[in-house]
């Protein structure tokens, strides 16, 4: 068990080193001749207007909020799914009721108009 996570740890280190090695090689062999025009922000030939970190549409935030609820709840479903083969019908139906509550939440969000992009 510990060995498994050691393997993942080694994987993490090597998987990071490979792209780093590519970047370092590129850094060694590539030319470095910066100038202000080259380094300016890409903008289809126009000068950039205003601040780049702008306000964004609130709808993105609302979708993220809906996602958060679902994501946390679906993680609870994984243990239920794994042991489903050993559960009685009653426990399975309990899990289904849990999913139905989730869907009720989705329907509520839908009826409230939170899923509209407006």
């Amino acid at each position: 068990m510990q060995n498994e996570w050691l393997y993942i740890g080694l994987f993490l280190v090597i998987a990071t080193l490979i792209p780093v090695a590519a970047l370092v090689t590129s850094w060694i062999v590539s030319p470095k001749k910066p100038n202000p025009i080259k380094q300016s922000t890409y903008e289809c030939g126009m000068e950039t207007v205003g601040e780049n970190w702008v306000q964004f549409k609130a709808q993105y935030y609302i979708f993220a909020l809906v996602f958060l609820v679902f994501d946390v709840e679906t993680v609870f479903l994984f243990p239920w799914a794994v042991s489903l083969g050993r559960l009685s019908l009653f426990a399975v139906i309990e899990g289904i009721v849990f999913i139905l509550i989730l869907i009720a939440g989705l329907i509520y969000t839908w009826r409230k108009g939170m899923l509209e992009w407006a």
Partner: protein, 399 residues
């Protein structure tokens, strides 16, 4: 145990005895052997990634009635190596006002998150990195690092196009993750395990694509959205926001994003094969040996990758509101209804002969699919009537 039946453990045993023979401590020898295993697997995947560049270019060329790379080497096979050399010697431009640390970290994380997924892929019954008992959760966790790299790249680039691309991509990623998790639960239910190897071994008699065809389709759609490929390529929509989150990246940093994207597509093809297409099983052919099994898995992953490319070069881009509505109002409810039905049928059909079980599961899916199609037909009919009623009014207004 010999080289043909169990190559990885055979070599590992041989190396262990060699290292211990040199007087090395046991734990150090096993650590070094694990390290060698990791390096071999990652280098294999990177080499395969280079090959994928050629595959992608060749296939897109065929879809668009072109020839594709055919000058450098036989069938243009050396082309990706030429590409890599070109990317390496390109100047690396860091834009003004970029957050340097985050800007340089993003492409590294992008490729790393994809490589991490290969730690749990079972290539054959005895060839796998590690058989985690929480495999399905690991896929979701490692995949989320990719999302993080996208928002990091966009936020640090100091560019509005990049930021718009990243917002879209993150909205899409978080939305399509829900049906993806829900459909990942279905193989978990059928196999009774989250471990990838056990899920594959559960498909020895029948592939899960027969027991859960709708789940396989939904998983594929959600995977394409996660990859940010057409018809869900709003994140880079080249005609609107040029290149999206990687607009400011040049040279090898762009190359890493590109390599990560290709390998990600292939990896999801692989997970599609593992979860639904029977992994390394192919009608008993996998019993010939683990290397044959690994080739079978790669062939199936290639098939999944080809399906992703096929959809990419056939379907046009969707608008973001359509896309999110499609996810939240269609895919998510369908995925959860399917999950409930699968759980219920799995419990009701427990203990029945396998023929009845398979038929029952398949018919449940067919019934659900028929109901979905009927609902969609009714919806599109009502939508069509709405537009038909509006059209004459617009025509008279025009005159």
């Amino acid at each position: 145990m010999n080289l043909w039946n169990d190559p990885v453990n055979f070599i590992a045993h041989w190396l262990t005895s060699l290292f211990v023979g040199w007087g090395m401590a046991g734990w150090l020898a096993s650590l070094i052997i694990q390290l060698i295993g990791v390096i071999v697997l990652i280098l294999l995947m990177m080499l395969f990634d280079i090959f994928l560049v050629w595959v992608e270019r060749k296939v897109v060329a065929r879809f668009q009635d072109r020839l594709g790379p055919n000058r450098v080497g036989p069938f243009g096979l050396i082309q990706p190596f030429a590409d890599i050399i070109k990317l390496l010697i390109k100047e690396d431009i860091t834009p003004d006002g970029a957050d340097k640390v985050v800007y340089n970290l993003a492409p590294i994380l992008s490729l790393m998150s994809v490589l991490l997924l290969w730690a749990i892929v079972p290539l054959a019954p005895v060839i796998f990195g590690v058989d985690l008992n929480v495999g399905a959760l690991y896929i979701i966790a490692a995949g989320s690092i990719g999302t993080l790299s996208i928002i990091m790249a966009a936020w640090s680039s100091n560019n509005k196009y990049a930021l718009i691309g990243a917002f879209r991509q993150v909205a899409v990623l978080v939305s399509f993750e829900i049906p993806m998790i829900a459909t990942m639960l279905i193989p978990t239910i059928l196999a009774g395990s989250m471990g990838m190897n056990e899920i594959v071994q559960g498909q020895q008699t029948v592939w899960y694509v027969v027991l859960a065809p709708i789940a396989a389709i939904i998983f594929m759609i959600a995977a394409i959205a996660e990859l940010g490929r057409s018809p869900f390529d709003l994140n880079e929509a080249e005609s609107e926001i040029v290149a999206g989150f990687h607009i400011e990246y040049t040279g090898m940093k762009f190359g890493l994003f590109y390599a990560g994207e290709l390998l990600h597509a292939f990896t999801f093809g692989g997970f599609w094969a593992i979860l639904f297409l029977g992994g390394y099983h192919f009608f008993g052919l996998e019993n010939l040996g683990p290397l044959v099994a690994a080739v079978i898995l790669f062939a199936k992953a290639m098939f999944g990758y080809w399906v992703i490319m096929w959809i990419r070069y056939t379907v046009m881009r969707m608008r973001i509101d359509h896309m999110l509505a499609f996810n939240w109002k269609f895919l998510t409810p369908v995925a959860f209804v399917l999950l409930m039905l699968t759980a219920l049928m799995n419990t009701l059909l427990r203990g029945t002969p396998s023929g009845v079980y398979i038929l029952g599961m398949f018919l449940t899916n067919v019934l659900l699919g028929w109901i979905i199609v009927e609902i969609l037909r009714g919806y599109s009919r009502s939508e069509r009537q709405k537009t038909q009623n509006v059209a004459p009014a617009a025509a008279t207004a025009h005159h």
